[in-house]
Structure formats: structure tokens, C-alpha cells
């Protein structure tokens, strides 16, 4: 290798140095550090004090709080992911029709993408307000019973889930609409000539060709749901009686309220593996099951 080659290689590396340093400092190092901390007890400054091996993980299995937290997390995922995808798919199919002024409807449907978790949560907090919020007024008008939606262990998680579905519709809608617009229109024209019904078109053309996008949005929504934090912090603070303490809220509370960094790190490792499994499943399934154009 001559000198010119070596020096140009060095100058080439300058282009990737910034991202490499940042990834090392803020992604790879902290991931390894989280694993390290999960096997130690720590002091209030987060410095490890004693090696405990897998003791934290063993404790996690026995810990009632953590079991409740996992239950809340999985229920939350169950409540939010399928409904977000189905509602957004419905909206995307509607907004994909060629009508006058459809662009305006698309903009409205995607608007929650521009809403922050904090602002949305504050709005829903007011809507759920037992005395002056709209939810109770509507329920009463429809002949139902007034409730303390966010304070009742039976309804709190569902209430947060409904708010979350609303927040996530904008993003899922936009992605699905993009997927629909990528489908070759000539396919529909041929189907029309062949006299195929609308339902058959949806089932045999649209959904199979949309499957990569659908699969993508399901995966992203799943990962996103496991990372939920803001709406819990504002709406319920994990209560009542831990029914809304989802995983990330539990990590936050353990680390930044109880200063139990080691135990919190063990939970963060659990989060890491959940997301890893979803991602691996995506890669494994995407090749086989999903129809590509």
C-alpha cells in the first residue's frame, strides 16, 4: 500500500468518525454498561459497589411488582398495537380513494404525528377528568355510569391505551398510505376489466401487496409500545396499584426515583431482549411470509 493510498484512507475515515464515536459513546458503551450494572449493586451515584451475578434477574422472576409490570406491559401492547394498525389501515384505505380534496383529509388523518406525547396526554387527562371532562359527559348522555377513568384499576390501563392509539394513528396512517400508493394502479384497472368485486380486490391485490408495509408497521408499533413512557408519567404515574406500570416506567422509577440503578438495569436488559426478539422475528419472517412486488 503506497503512501497516497494510506493517507486517502485516513481522510475517508474522517467521514465516518463522528457517527462512529457517537454510536460508541451513546449506544454501544451504555448497552454493555447496562449489562454490567445489571450484575452489580450500586450506590446513589450509579457506581457499582458489589458483584451479584444474576441475582437481580432471579429476583425479577419472584418480584410481584415486576410481574405486575410485565402484565401491564403485555396488556398495553395487546390493547394498542392491533387497534392502531386496524384503524390506521381503514383510514389509509379511505384516504387512498381518488376524490376531490382528499389531500386535506390525508393531512388531518396524519395530524397526530405532529402532537407530542406530553401535549396529547395533557389533553386526554382533561377529557378523562371525572367532573368536567367530556368522557364522563358522553358516557352519562349514553346512559352509562360516571367513572374515575384514570384512578380506577379496572379502567386506567384501557384509558391510557385509548389515548395512545389516538397518538399513534398519525404515523401508522402515513406509512400505510405510502404503502398503498406504491401499489401499481394497472393491477386495479385489469381487475376492473375482469369484473372483480371490491372485496376480492382488497383481499387478493391490496392486502398481499401491502403486506411488507403492514408487517413493518406492526413491528414498529410493537417496539414502540414496549417503549411507552410519557403518557404513563403524565396520566397515571404507574398507578392505581401498579396497573399501568409498564416496563419503561418501572425502569424509570427504579433508577431515578429509588436510585436502584443495578436492579433497574436488569429490567433494561429485559427490554433490550424483548426488542431484540421482535426484530429477529421480523427478519426471519419477512423473507418467508411476506409477499414482495
Amino acid at each position: 500500500m503506497n503512501f497516497r493510498r494510506v493517507s486517502s484512507n485516513i481522510s475517508y475515515i474522517l467521514y465516518v468518525i463522528p457517527s462512529f464515536l457517537l454510536f460508541s459513546t451513546f449506544v454501544f458503551y451504555p448497552m454493555i454498561r447496562t449489562g454490567y450494572l445489571s450484575m452489580h449493586t450500586t450506590n446513589f451515584q450509579g457506581a457499582p459497589t458489589a458483584y451479584v451475578g444474576f441475582e437481580h434477574f432471579r429476583y425479577l422472576i419472584e418480584d410481584r411488582n415486576f410481574r405486575e409490570s410485565m402484565k401491564a406491559t403485555f396488556l398495553f401492547v395487546l390493547y394498542t398495537v392491533p387497534s392502531t394498525v386496524l384503524i390506521s389501515l381503514f383510514l389509509a384505505l379511505l384516504a387512498n380513494e381518488k376524490l376531490k380534496g382528499i389531500q386535506l383529509f390525508r393531512t388531518f388523518f396524519s395530524s397526530t404525528l405532529g402532537m407530542s406525547v406530553a401535549a396529547s396526554s395533557v389533553i386526554w387527562m382533561f377529557m378523562y377528568n371525572p367532573s368536567i371532562g367530556i368522557v364522563n359527559k358522553l358516557v352519562v348522555a349514553l346512559g352509562g355510569q360516571e367513572r374515575q377513568w384514570l384512578l380506577d384499576p379496572d379502567t386506567a390501563l384501557i384509558a391510557v391505551a385509548v389515548a395512545t392509539v389516538w397518538m399513534n394513528i398519525g404515523f401508522a396512517f402515513l406509512i400505510l398510505l405510502g404503502g398503498l400508493q406504491n401499489i401499481d394502479v394497472t393491477l386495479y384497472e385489469s381487475a376492473k376489466i375482469a369484473g372483480v368485486s371490491k372485496i376480492y380486490q382488497l383481499w387478493r391485490i391490496t392486502l398481499p401487496l401491502l403486506s411488507p408495509t403492514l408487517f413493518f408497521i406492526v413491528t414498529v408499533s410493537l417496539i414502540h409500545a414496549f417503549q411507552t413512557f410519557g403518557q404513563i408519567d403524565i396520566l397515571t404515574k404507574g398507578g392505581p396499584v401498579n396497573t399501568t406500570t409498564v416496563l419503561v416506567y418501572s425502569i424509570y422509577r427504579e433508577a431515578f426515583v429509588n436510585y436502584n440503578f443495578g436492579f433497574a438495569s436488569a429490567q433494561a436488559v429485559v427490554l433490550f431482549f424483548i426488542v431484540l426478539v421482535i426484530t429477529i422475528l421480523q427478519f426471519a419472517l419477512v423473507e418467508r411470509k411476506v409477499h414482495y412486488q
Binding site: 484512507n9 457517527s19 395530524s111 406530553a118 433494561a268 426488542v275
Partner: protein, 270 residues
């Protein structure tokens, strides 16, 4: 499509818009109501006075919070654009040892959820003295795998002959990057810019952890604080603050929606 079908489609569309937009419109209406009116159960403002907005700005340093959010989002946007475009350029046009390993590590970062690394990151930022500081709010977000992939996708569409011609005529890499590649990628850069600004503006967990000082607190944390302090009495004021907070991102979204959609698809699917 016949008239009846078209009309029924419009009706369904309008019903959906009403349902989706309801919370936003509701918040807007509430922001014009006084505490007494709210307790009476009113929901339509009688006078459209801006007193709640004025109060919101008087009670909390909302201008300061908005400014902080703007500065932080702007810095992250610029940082992400610079770091991502440099990396994307290297991955598309440059051949050097270790390139594939670096590309692989970039993919790997997508497997790590930010929340799983938040504890050591907090401790790092604290030990650097970056808490309550724009540095701690911005620098950890400069490198973004999504941004690198998005731009790489676009850079790949630039004819390689252009690069070879530049090489032959002795144009330096940085000049080629700056005067040819970047101008040809304006739309992708704009998409990434909108995306970074939007996500940073709306960030919640990280600013909550690394700020406890008014001088750097972002507007999202300001909202949480207001909502906890005000509670039942001054919901109108809180909603006024909510409207002020969502206005910049909603406007940005309405302008950049088409761009953003294309970009999200490109960076995500391919």
C-alpha cells in the same frame, strides 16, 4: 364512481376527521374558557379573548421554554444532517478498509432501544457536567441510523459516473460532497430535517431526566409541570399552553407531510 357512492365516502371521511381531530379542537375550545365557565360545564367559548394565553405566558416562563425547545430541536437537526450525510457519503462513494464493519455497526444500533441505555447515558452526561445544559440535550442524538440510511438511499441514486468524472478531474472529496452531492439531495435532507426537528421537539423522557432548571427546560417538560401545578382550577390556561406547544409542529407537519411520508417509506422499507 356514481354520485351515491361518492357522497357516502365523503360522509365516512368527514366522520373520521371529526373523531380524529376532536381532542385537538376540544383543547382549542377549552383554551378560551375561564375556570368558572368550565365548572358550569360550558364547552363553547362566549367571548374569544386571549386571557388564558396571556396568563399562560405570565405564569410560567413559556417563552423561555419554547425558545429552549426551538434551540435544542434546531441544533439536533443540524447535527443529524451533518453527521448522517457524512456517513452516508462514505458508505456510498468511498472504499476503505473496515467500511463493511462500520456499516454493520450502524445497522446494529437499530437493535438497541434508547430506553434500555438511558441509565448509563444519564450517568455519562452527568459525569461530563452536561446536565441542565444544551450539550446534554443535543449531542447524544446527533448520530441516527435512520438518517444515515435515508440519505444513503438517496445518494445511491446519484450517477456514479459523476463521481468518477470528479475523481478524474481531481476534484477533492469534500468539494464533491459539498457542491454536488448535497445540492442534489435537497429533498432528502429536507425530509430528514423535518423528521429530526419534529422528534426532538416532542422528546419527553430524556429532557425530563437531564433538566431541572428553568433556563434549559423544554416546553414538553414545562407542560407536565404546569399540569401538575395547576390541576382543576386553571385548565383553560393549561390548554392555552398546549395549543402554543403543538402549533409549531402541526404547522411543520402540514407543510412537510408529503415529503415526510416519502422519506419515512424510503428509510424504513428499502
Amino acid at each position: 364512481m356514481n354520485f351515491f357512492k361518492r357522497a357516502s365516502l365523503y360522509i365516512v371521511l368527514i366522520v373520521c376527521v371529526v373523531l380524529i381531530m376532536f381532542p385537538i379542537v376540544y383543547a382549542f375550545l377549552i383554551s378560551f374558557l375561564s375556570g368558572a365557565e368550565l365548572l358550569q360545564g360550558k364547552w363553547w367559548p362566549t367571548d374569544w379573548s386571549f386571557r388564558n394565553y396571556i396568563k399562560a405566558f405570565e405564569k410560567v416562563p413559556l417563552v423561555r421554554y419554547l425558545w429552549n425547545s426551538f434551540v435544542v430541536s434546531f441544533i439536533v437537526m443540524i447535527g443529524q444532517l451533518i453527521v448522517s450525510s457524512l456517513s452516508a457519503y462514505a458508505f456510498v462513494f468511498l472504499r476503505f478498509p473496515g467500511r463493511n464493519i462500520l456499516f454493520f455497526t450502524t445497522i446494529m444500533t437499530m437493535l438497541v432501544p434508547w430506553e434500555a441505555t438511558v441509565i448509563p447515558n444519564y450517568l455519562t452526561v452527568q459525569s461530563l457536567g452536561w446536565t441542565n445544559n444544551y450539550l446534554g440535550l443535543t449531542i447524544p442524538f446527533f448520530a441516527l441510523a435512520f438518517g444515515i440510511f435515508l440519505l444513503r438511499q438517496h445518494f445511491k441514486t446519484i450517477p456514479f459516473e459523476l463521481y468518477e468524472a470528479a475523481q478524474v478531474s481531481g476534484v477533492r472529496h469534500f468539494r464533491f460532497f459539498w457542491y454536488v452531492v448535497l445540492p442534489l439531495s435537497k429533498t432528502s435532507l429536507a425530509t430528514l430535517g423535518v423528521y429530526s426537528f419534529l422528534t426532538t421537539w416532542n422528546m419527553y423522557l430524556w429532557p425530563l431526566l437531564v433538566t431541572n432548571d428553568e433556563r434549559v427546560r423544554t416546553v414538553q417538560i414545562g407542560l407536565k409541570q404546569m399540569q401538575t401545578q395547576e390541576m382543576a382550577t386553571e385548565w383553560g390556561v393549561v390548554m392555552a399552553a398546549v395549543i402554543v406547544t403543538i402549533l409549531p409542529t402541526l404547522i411543520l407537519l402540514f407543510i412537510g407531510q408529503k415529503q415526510l411520508q416519502k422519506g419515512l417509506m424510503q428509510g424504513a422499507i428499502k
